[in-house]
Structures are given as C-alpha cells and as structure tokens.
C-alpha cells in the first residue's frame, strides 16, 4: 500500500512539474484537509500545550535572532577590515566608467551636474524603473487606504465630519498665515531645483519632493477641500500617468535615436525627462499624504 501511495505521490509531483494540474483523489484530500485530532483530548489541555509551545518558541527566538545578528555583524566586520582605504583616488570603485561620465557628461548630455546627467541619460532605464516603483507604491497605498462605502462605517464618517467641523470653526491662524507666506516661495524653489538640476545640485527627485512638500503644507493649513477642488482626482491621475508616459516615450526616442545614429537635440529631452520624474515624485508624495490623511485624493 505504501508503495502505491508513493508512486501516486511521485506521479503527482511529476504532473506538478509538467504543469498538468490533476485533481487530488478523495482520500488524500480528506487526509490533507483534516485538522489535527483535537477532540481526543480536553480542550484546556490542548490549549495549555499550545501555550507552552508558543512560550518555548518565544523564549528561543530572541536568542536565535541575536546570535544570527551577531554572527552577521562579525562577518561584515571581518570584511570591512579588508576593503580598500577610504577616500583614495586609486580605489577600484573609481574606474574608467566614472572617469568617462565625468569627462563626457557635458559634451554628450548637456548637463554640467554629472549626477543628474548620469541618472537621467546614461542610466535612464534605472530611473524609469524607479519611477514605476513609485507609481506602483502609491497605487498600492491607495488600494490599502482608500475609503469607499464598503470599508467605512457610520462611526468613522461621523468622526471625520466632526474633525472637519473643528478645523473649520477653529482655524490655526499662525499656520495659515505662514503657509500663505511660504507656499509660493516653496513652489518657486521647487521649480528652480527641478529645472536647474542640470547645472546645480538638484534635479527631478529633490525638486519633486520639495514640490510635494509645498502642496502638503498648503493642504494641511487650509484643509483638504481647498486643494482638492483645484487638484481633483481625475487631474491627479492624469498628471501621474502623463508623467510616466512622457518619460517612457522620451527615453524611448532617445534610445532609438542613439542606437540608429540619428543626431537629435538632447537639451529639451533632458528637461522633459527631468519634469516627468519631478511630476511623478510630487504626485507620489502628495498621494501618500492625502491617502494617510483622509483616504481619498
């Protein structure tokens, strides 16, 4: 009997490898679905045994975790002693790739800031994937926290309405005045960092983050409705998707032209990519804030 069962198990395994999903026969299904025999012993004895098991696990776990961490850190320390000395020009990380980037960035991409030139043109695919990560992150946060009628009860709605009423009747004057004063300058600074990223420190990521920060300041001072009347959900989605699409298209043209030896003006492409990254980052950050704050854009 054991032979036959083994054979069938092997065949099931082979089928599983081949991708043929064969329904499990009834006996195995029964065996697999059956819970551990609990009715044979009194429930409190079972519970006591489970608790003991959990206690043993919880006593052993910190020891094992601490030992693992200490062993890992010891290995890392032993490695650190052998890595090349800090800050020397002859280190293996400072190879001909970085020399090429430094010498030819201005000529090939038109950017004087080598970091921006590198992440937006030489390593543009990397940044494109990273923008996709941001896009997916804000989408999954929306999935988790968006408020609709299925996951909101009357109590939460009541609490939210009360909070809004408090906000409206007791506005924070200091916050409002300073936000009114600061928001234009923050947005201006964000645009400066965004568009000037090629010749000075900055670029899409930092500019977009500052842009999102300015939006958050305005939204937190004047209440969420004020801004969401201007930046509706559809506009927000449009900006987010347009940014990613513009990036993909522009970089696709850039790569295609480069591969086929077509000479194109690169200057505007860098600015478009920069702007696209900035918009995606700003939308991501503002989306995080509104989702965390009240569950809708």
């Amino acid at each position: 009997m054991s032979d036959g069962r083994e054979k069938s198990a092997w065949r099931r395994f082979a089928d599983w490898v081949n991708g043929d999903s064969e329904p499990i026969d009834r006996t195995t299904q029964y065996v697999m679905n059956r819970r551990p025999p609990r009715q044979e012993e009194p429930p409190e004895l079972h519970e006591q045994r489970e608790r003991l098991r959990l206690k043993k696990f919880l006593g052993l776990y910190p020891l094992a975790a601490g030992f693992l961490c200490v062993a890992l850190i010891a290995i890392l320390f032993a490695t650190v002693i052998y890595i090349p000395p800090f800050g020397q020009p002859g280190n293996p990380t400072n190879n001909e790739v970085s020399r090429h980037y430094l010498e030819y960035t201005e000529e090939e991409t038109g950017a004087t800031n080598a970091v921006t030139g590198m992440i937006l043109s030489y390593r543009g695919f990397d940044t494109l994937g990273e923008s996709c990560v941001l896009f997916l992150a804000v989408s999954s946060v929306m999935m988790l926290l968006q408020r609709d009628k299925n996951n909101t009860d009357e109590q939460t709605l009541h609490r939210l309405r009360r909070e809004d009423a408090i906000e409206r009747t007791h506005p924070d004057n200091i916050l409002r005045k300073s936000a009114k004063l600061l928001t234009p300058f923050i947005l201006l600074f964000a645009l400066y960092v965004l568009f000037n990223g090629e010749i000075s420190p900055g670029g899409g990521f930092s500019g977009g983050a500052i842009l999102g920060g300015g939006l958050i300041l305005y939204s937190s001072a004047y209440g969420p409705e004020q801004l969401s009347r201007l930046l509706t959900r559809s506009l927000y989605d449009t900006v987010r998707i347009t940014g990613l699409m513009a990036y993909a298209l522009t970089y696709g043209i850039y790569i295609f032209a480069g591969a086929n030896g077509i000479k194109l003006e690169m200057e505007w492409m860098m600015i478009v990519i920069d702007l696209a990254v900035g918009l995606v980052v700003a939308c991501t950050i503002y989306g995080f804030y509104t989702m965390f704050q009240r569950g809708k854009v």
Binding site: F205, F292, Q293
Partner: protein, 83 residues
C-alpha cells in the same frame, strides 16, 4: 573637518541606538528624524549635495509627516486635541 565628521558619525550611532529604546512612539519617531538630519549633513560633507537636498526633503520632511499621520491613526499621540 575630520573631528566634525567623527562627531556626526557618533551621533548617527547614538540616534540609531536610542530611537527604538524610547518608550513613547512619538519620541522614537523624533529621534529617527534627528538621525535623518545628521545623515543629510553627512551627505553634504561627503561632497554629494544632491543627496543632501533629497535626504533633507524626503527623509526628514515627508517621512516625518507620514510617521506622524500613522501615529495619529493608531492613536499613539496622547494629549492631542482628538483624545
């Protein structure tokens, strides 16, 4: 410069060790934000101003806001107006 660098590195370790040992979650988050500020200064000392700007905007500002909003949602902010 090296002395300042060493002080900042020591501050990093102290902040990282102290942050999770605080009893209140609010204190934990604030010490973690101090960690981010020290890191931003270190980036600028490592001659990477791009990183310093991004860390100051993102690591300190944005993640601070997200942490505080989460604390509010999980009702760990005692003594605020909602309680």
């Amino acid at each position: 410069m090296t002395i300042l660098e060493n002080i900042l590195l020591a501050g990093l370790i102290i902040c990282a060790a102290a942050a999770p040992l605080c009893k209140r979650l609010l204190a934990t988050v604030i010490v973690y934000l101090a960690f981010s500020v020290i890191l931003a200064v270190l980036w600028s000392m490592l001659q990477s101003p791009d990183l310093a700007i991004t860390e100051a905007a993102v690591g300190t500002g944005i993640s601070g806001i997200l942490f505080f909003l989460t604390l509010k949602k999980i009702r760990a902010l005692k003594g605020t107006r909602d309680e």
